[in-house]
Amino acid sequence: MKGVIAGLEMREPSSLDEALSAMRNDPSLVPLAGCTDLYVALNFGTLESTRFLNLWSIDELRVIEKSNDALSIGALTTYKSIIQSKLVRKRLPMLISAAREIGGAQIHNRGTLGGNIANGSPAGDTLPVLAAADATVVMRSADAERRVPLTQFYTGYRKSVLRADELIVAVEIPSFSGKQWFRKVGTRAAQAISKVVMAAVRSPRPRIALGSVAPTVIRLPMTEGALEEGAPIQEAQRILMDEISPIDDMRSTEEYRRRVASNLLGRFWAETE
């Protein structure tokens, strides 16, 4: 049922420091930015929080830059900015592929990379890209900054190491080589939630990440290991099917997800030869 809107409170910090100190003083504040996920929960009456912190105007979190040799993308970078970024196109084209397939123009203008990470849906389309790219999540509180690899960021279904007084401020992607590959399988050709989503890098040490096939986004170390050791693709596909743990839900079935994930691995391998 539709949520109640009256009685909601929102604070509008003008800087990152102000936002972080507000969060230290009041851990009940829920940060929001593009609201592309949060408003859905609000509309369905499933959002418990009533107090919010609007990060939208904190432009310092919108920077895309090279930092040492890594690519650093600010948490408030929208999908639109990602799609338009020459730097991202050069360094991480599979992130552009993912961003293009998230929602439509309205979502591209509002949805943010940090929001996709914070929301923590196993179907988040940028997450396999970040996992395959060995990205690091940069978090900051009023007191300190810390870095956690994306593959260690999630601790369970929609659960992460992010503390109530912390904000995701950026993602750092180290330089790497190899062909990048991305494929999303949704319930229709556009504007759909993923049933299976895969990002992968073809290099001597292949990297493979999948979404919507486990409680969180996952890397597939065993499948990667087999491919690295030169196992035939069919063998790697068998390993993949054991390495994932998809479920039946209203969008698809366990069997379909397993089969399609395996087929996508085969397609990735064939297309990046």
Binding site: M1, K2, G3, V4, I5, A6, G7, V40, N43, F44, G45, V185, T187, R188, A189, A190, Q191, A192, I193, V196, Q234, Q237, M241, M250, R251, S252, T253, E255, Y256, R259, V260, S262, N263, L264, G266, R267
Partner: protein, 720 residues
């Protein structure tokens, strides 16, 4: 200057501007949720959360200050939504037959307080019936018999059997259901989004036990219906009226999308079984068809949905021996109801996929099989109706085959992951059998200072009613299109021209308006409307439907002329299947539709394109996931309809083989386009070698069909 001396260009057949385009494009058109009345409250419906059982206790667990609460005891008249059977209550008394059944109504001036109000309902649960085939209750059974089925089977060289399944479908009109009830002067006015103001009027009269003139129903600008606003608005209007009368204040109820999807009607799922006798050369000798439709918890319109489905079940094919048995079964799910096509999409899906399987079995080209069997003028349908020259089955088939390059593509796609398939189909225009005569619809034209006013209960729901009616009237009167204007359907101001359903608004109501215009022209005696008005003041002309002579129908035996005319069409679908994901992507649809006469070609093409897109969704994407009798994916995020990227180029060809009855030869067009895409697409998939017999053919279903076809030994890597 005298009007007869001005050659005003004819409006019919031209793409004149829509009567409502300026307001809609500017965002000025007022929909029900745009309207606010002084002192207005908002209404909310408390619904059952179990599929079957009895209400044990209800408790209002909130501070009731400022609230108005109504339940069944507040109904002064009869607690049934008057339609076909008197079984569905406005508000449940004790028995619960489906999830989301209305139990209590709340109203408050604050939407937030309304949403926060918590009502506890205790139940005695019973086991729900969710499988229509194991349901003990048939709401309607019917039989159609032509010839002697056993004679037909004894003439056959081969007998081919098959079972076909179709799912629910949601209407997804852009505007959800909504009404406002305004009590005034001892009566009540209902304003709302609806297709049939007089259905609402009838239901309210029965619920309130009031006389006609105390109830006024006004259709507000309506954002789509597709059948979903045929019968349902009667229920929500009853709710708003109860609250408004109890509060003595206006009450607005507008559903949000989730409530609309969980609570309102959907297309009937169906299981159709065919057993068909054929000669080796493809001639049909016997068609034995069994139809089971899932009606949901109350009768609503299921008997007539079943009826139209059964009449169309044998497809547009000649066969001397036909037996059709149909049942609409009760289940403990929200009632299914009217939806564009009204039973025909389900049964024509089955017969067209079955025809494809007959072609495959006999090794006959699917076009050839259909050419052999397609109706010609003079043939008789399963109900014994003799078809006239307005039968175009063979013509649309041949045009569609040529236009799409069917045979070339068939060869080109052979052995690839692409396929091509077709469906030949038809749709009876207007109410079934004697329905139109029983309705005895009326329409009026008013001569006013401004010009000529169209007074009908037919609603504009996006399909172009206002424009198309004005075109017909303008030409019949010989006045410019701009001098004819529509009025808002309002039961206190317009005659009952019947519901806006059944592809009848142009053919039937348009024809009555044409009669009105002809009579008005006679009365004008050569004067222009302005000259006449200046000399004599206003004039109103009313006309009533006159059934075409020679049309006979017997409802007890299902024999006779089921419809005064049929529209005919052939769709060709080209598809590609993704070997990794089992997704079927339509590449192109060619739609050749004989609709008699295109009064407004652009609007007609719009109906065909829109119906085809909706048919693509029905075929491939739109899946209502039911869990314990309730829609689990009641969100647009998870019940997905086709986007532009899911909709391929649609090549529309309009054929005009006139009917004797409609204005300018027009037949119905609204529903025809939804009947063909699903079987055409599934047949295209079949041509790739995948034995698909079920829709929606979501990739999960296609994957299983591929597995069954190839054996499960190496199903992981299907070479397509």
């Amino acid at each position: 200057m005298h009007a007869s001396k001005i050659a005003s260009p004819l409006a019919v057949g031209r793409n004149v501007p829509r009567k409502d385009s300026a307001e809609k494009v500017a965002g000025a058109a007022k929909y029900v949720d745009d309207l606010v009345f002084p002192g207005m409250l908002y209404g909310r419906t408390i619904r059952s959360t179990i599929p079957r059982g009895r209400i044990a206790a209800t408790r209002l667990a909130f501070d009731q200050r400022g609230f108005v609460v109504a339940d069944y005891r507040d109904i002064p008249g009869r607690n049934v939504v008057a339609l076909i059977e008197d079984d569905q209550p406005f508000l449940a008394e004790r028995e619960i037959r489906h999830t989301a059944e209305p139990i209590l109504l709340l109203a408050h001036e604050s939407r937030d307080l309304l949403l926060r109000a918590h009502v506890e309902i205790g139940y005695e649960r019973e086991n729900p019936v969710l499988d229509p085939e194991s349901s003990p209750t048939a709401f309607k059974s019917l039989a159609i018999d032509k010839g002697e089925i056993e004679d037909g089977f004894s003439e056959a060289d081969i007998i081919i059997e098959g079972e076909y399944r179709t799912g629910h479908q949601e209407h997804i009109y852009i505007e959800t259901n909504g009404v406002i009830a305004v009590p005034q002067d001892g009566g009540i006015t209902l304003l709302g989004s609806m297709q049939c103001p007089f259905y609402v009027h009838k239901a309210l009269k029965s619920m309130l036990g009031w006389s006609d003139e105390r109830i006024r129903v006004v259709q507000t600008e309506t954002g789509g219906g597709f059948g979903g606003k045929e019968e349902y608005p009667s229920l929500i209007a009853g709710h708003a009226a109860l609250l408004a009368l109890k509060a003595n204040r206006p009450v607005k109820i507008v559903y949000d999308r989730a409530e609309d999807m969980i609570a309102t009607t959907k297309r009937h799922p169906a299981i159709v079984r065919h057993r068909t006798g054929v000669k080796r050369d493809g001639r049909l000798t016997a068609m034995d068809i069994d139809i089971v439709m899932d009606a949901g918890a109350y009768v609503t319109l299921s008997p007539v949905v079943l009826s139209r489905g059964a009449i169309h079940a044998a497809g547009p094919y000649r066969c001397d021996h036909v037996r059709v048995r149909g049942r609409a079964m009760m289940t403990n799910t929200p009632p299914n109801g009217a939806f564009r096509g009204f039973g025909a999409p389900q049964t024509q899906f089955a017969v067209e996929v079955h025809m494809e399987r007959i072609a495959e079995t006999l090794g006959i080209d699917p076009v050839k099989l259909r050419e052999t069997n397609a109706f010609r003028p003079g043939d008789t349908t399963s109900t014994g109706q003799i078809l006239g020259e307005d039968c175009s089955a063979l013509d649309v088939l041949r045009r569609a085959v040529r236009r799409s390059g069917f045979r070339t593509r068939q060869r080109r796609y052979a052995g690839t992951n692409r396929g091509i398939g077709l469906a030949l189909f038809y749709h009876g225009s207007g109410f079934t059998g004697g329905g139109e005569v029983r309705l005895a619809s009326k329409a009026s034209l008013g001569l006013t200072e401004r010009g000529v006013q169209i007074l009908v209960a037919s609603t504009e729901i996006g399909q172009g009613t206002r424009t198309m009616h004005a075109q017909i009237v303008a030409d019949a009167l010989g006045v410019p299109f701009d001098d004819v204007y529509p009025v808002q359907p309002d039961t206190s101001n317009v005659p009952d021209s019947g519901p806006t359903v059944a592809s009848r608004t142009c053919m039937v109501v348009g024809r009555i308006l044409q009669q009105c215009a002809e009579e008005m022209k006679t009365r004008l005696g050569g004067m222009t409307p302005r000259e006449f008005f200046a000399a004599h003041g206003p004039m109103i002309v009313t006309s009533e439907y006159e059934g075409p002579s020679g049309i006979k129908w017997d409802d007890s035996t299902y024999r006779g002329d089921a419809y005064s005319t049929y529209a005919w069409a052939c769709d060709v679908a080209e598809v590609e299947i993704n070997p990794d994901t089992f997704e079927v992507r339509p590449l192109k649809l060619t739609c050749v539709h004989d609709i008699g006469k295109a009064i407004h070609p652009v609007l007609v093409a719009g109906q065909i394109e829109g119906g085809t897109a909706q048919g693509i969704g029905y075929a491939l994407i739109e899946q209502v996931v039911m869990r314990e009798g309730s829609m689990a994916n009641a969100q647009l995020t998870n019940y997905t309809i086709p986007t532009t990227l899911d909709t391929p180029p649609i090549d529309v060809v309009i054929v005009e083989n006139p009917s004797r009855y409609g204005p300018h030869g027009a037949k119905g067009v609204g529903e025809l386009p939804i009947d063909g895409p699903a079987p055409a697409i599934v047949n295209a998939v079949r041509s790739i070698g995948i034995d698909l017999r079920e829709i929606p053919a979501v990739p999960e279903i296609v994957m299983k069909a591929i597995d069954l076809g190839k054996g499960k030994t190496d199903a992981r890597h299907v070479p397509l």
